[in-house]
């Protein structure tokens, strides 16, 4: 069945679906350029309530800081305790579930380090993000 033989409404709907893809691709690339650094998208702290339990939070701060306060449901995985804690993390994480890594502050080096190891050593191909501003950015919004 050729495209021209389809009902006009279906042809128009297909045209609209294609038309919507143009700004969608633009939006995707804009966000990639502005919100992605070192290969990982940045999640703004304002987005935390929307995501809730749909993602796995990875806290790369020290175990002491983690015990004092952390995002609800977060898993502590500091880079210097990688070997001891990675198996525990992989037991909790379900394939396909997004991961957001956060450190203490806006200095993201510790979070990037763990995110890279998750990608390379734990073979998690995609769905890893970094919390913009770290734990500090979330804390003021705490009830």
């Amino acid at each position: 069945m050729s495209f021209s033989r389809l009902p006009a409404s279906v042809r128009q709907a297909a045209l609209l679906a294609c038309l919507a893809a143009i700004p969608a691709v633009g939006s995707f690339w804009w966000h990639r350029a502005h919100r992605e650094r070192d290969g990982f998208p940045r999640m703004p702290a304002a987005g935390i309530p929307a995501w809730r339990e749909a993602i796995v939070w990875v806290d790369v701060r020290s175990p002491d800081a983690f015990r004092r306060s952390a995002l609800p449901g977060a898993i502590n995985l500091p880079e210097n305790a990688w070997n001891e804690k990675i198996d525990g993390f992989l037991d909790v994480w379900e394939p396909g579930k997004m991961i957001v890594v956060y450190g203490a502050t806006g200095d993201e080096s510790a979070a990037i380090g763990v995110a890279r190891r998750l990608k390379k050593e734990a073979n998690i191909a995609d769905g890893i993000m970094i919390l913009e501003g770290g734990f500090e950015a979330w804390e003021p919004a705490k009830p």
Binding site: A8, S9, V10, R11, Q12, A13, A14, L15, L16, A17, L19, A20, A21, P23, A24, V25, S27, F28, H31, R35, P41, M43, P44, A46, G47, A50, W51, R52, E53, A54, I55, G96, K97, M98, D126, G127
Partner: protein, 147 residues
């Protein structure tokens, strides 16, 4: 006399149809824009439904708001308005099915249909039913005009 009455009925149904188009088109434009300005937040709402995962969540979060905007605006363009109505109706059916499926799985979600504005599931279902009824009314008026 009879002709004038028929003309008045036609005018009234034309105005009613226009009101419904503004209602549906306006709804899709507002919800689309509210989601397009924060695709990452919308991706979170999608992820909570646990229907799509990984990169597909982000792709859907970037595409769906623009489809809503294009379909909403398309309702005001004479040449493509039937296709736009088809997209609007299709989207409403998909959203309703997703809400029902998620509730059936016992997941505690908020609708996320209007970016940043939390809506309870029963309220979202009622709103979708009203919008679908409006789509149906437009189809009825348009098909009557054809004959």
């Amino acid at each position: 006399m009879g002709t004038r009455k028929a003309m008045n009925t036609r005018d009234a149904s034309h105005v009613f149809c226009l009101v419904l188009q503004v209602f549906i088109g306006g709804f899709f434009l507002v919800t689309g824009v509210s989601k397009a300005i924060d695709p990452l937040g919308f991706a979170g709402e999608i992820a909570n439904y646990r229907i799509v995962t990984g990169w597909l969540t982000l792709a859907t979060a970037h595409y769906l708001p623009w489809l809503e905007i294009v379909a909403g605006a398309g309702l005001f363009v004479r040449r493509i308005r039937t296709g736009a109505l088809l997209v609007c109706g299709g989207l409403l059916l998909v959203f309703t099915a997703a809400l029902v499926a998620t509730c059936a799985r016992g997941l505690d979600i908020r609708c996320g249909c209007i970016g940043g504005v939390p809506t309870t599931v029963p309220l979202a279902l009622l709103r979708n039913a009203i919008l679908l009824a409006a789509c149906g009314a437009i189809v009825r008026i348009w098909s009557r005009k054809k004959h």
